[in-house]
Subunit: 209 residues, 2 copies
Amino acid sequence: MTSALASDLSARSPETRFERQLAKILEHATAVFCEKGYENATMRDLSRASGLSLAGLYYYFESKEKLLYLIQKHYFTTVMGQLSERLKDVSDPEERVRTFIQNHLEYFVAHFKAYKVLSHEDDVLQDELGDEIFALKREYYHSCAGLVEALKREKGLKFNSRIAIMGLFGSINWLHTWYNPQVDGDAPSLARQIGDVFLRGIYATSART
Amino acid sequence: MTSALASDLSARSPETRFERQLAKILEHATAVFCEKGYENATMRDLSRASGLSLAGLYYYFESKEKLLYLIQKHYFTTVMGQLSERLKDVSDPEERVRTFIQNHLEYFVAHFKAYKVLSHEDDVLQDELGDEIFALKREYYHSCAGLVEALKREKGLKFNSRIAIMGLFGSINWLHTWYNPQVDGDAPSLARQIGDVFLRGIYATSART
């Protein structure tokens, strides 16, 4: 359950010294925000955790806001990229919804600290940075909504999509407050069980039966 | 969607001037924590909002932690008290689970600011105050778990209770990030729809069918 931000970033972009350093700082900053909370964390804490001088840290980031923005942007972009890749091989509408749930849980269980930061500091960013993250979240919501709508059409189901989808997001986002891999099993097993309740729940609204 | 803490408290306890003042301060503090976040709010903000001098505020509360503690304690205690009252008249196991969902949603939609503070500042309190709130939350979780277990036994259902119940809590607690009464309808309608997906979802695991 450790963050693999450095390897994620380096796999996606040319390996310059600057980029490696950036990825390392984001990984340390995620751990600091997770432990102390964004509001309580100081640039001094971030400098200590990343092993950089304060001046060195400011060379990469002008502010704490920018760090949080880059963390949020990175994780939302990566989980969406990984989802697109996985969906390429899946055509069945139910399996596509299950793929969304499993991808979300696998990714955030593997990056649990980031998942806590993303959930807890959900509405901290303001102005342009906040708008950009909000747009990414909308895109992620719509990627899920599109899959649920396709299934709803195929099966002739009748339910309020927004409430059902937000309910599903609640189930998979609240996880950071209670999930314990020793008790609750791994992400694929969790995804199957949460998917079972959600899918059977919306199937029972079928207009055909 | 305004907090009715003052009237809640006064209805439950003898009306001394001290208690009325206390209830008023808690109501203002809830609004300040909701707007600025707990970490950002200062005793000065709280004094300004409640119309009390700083010295007057310290007369009632020794610290910001104590204020947050009293807010959390008040809302958890009240929602549980209201639930117990409602359950007295309901014997059908499914209706009892639905009563839990509806009570939770009605209460927190009516006290939306408190609901945001309780969700967002979930894990802020430490030591004895934190332990006491954690115990209240466990009690609330177990009141829901008991109702779901009773339904599970009655219908001979098979599912992982902890994952299903935590999934349900996710659905009803994530609400503060998206709920809009104009778009999503009132609390009873929301409770019915969230209850439908959850109940049909677990019913489909019935061992008898």
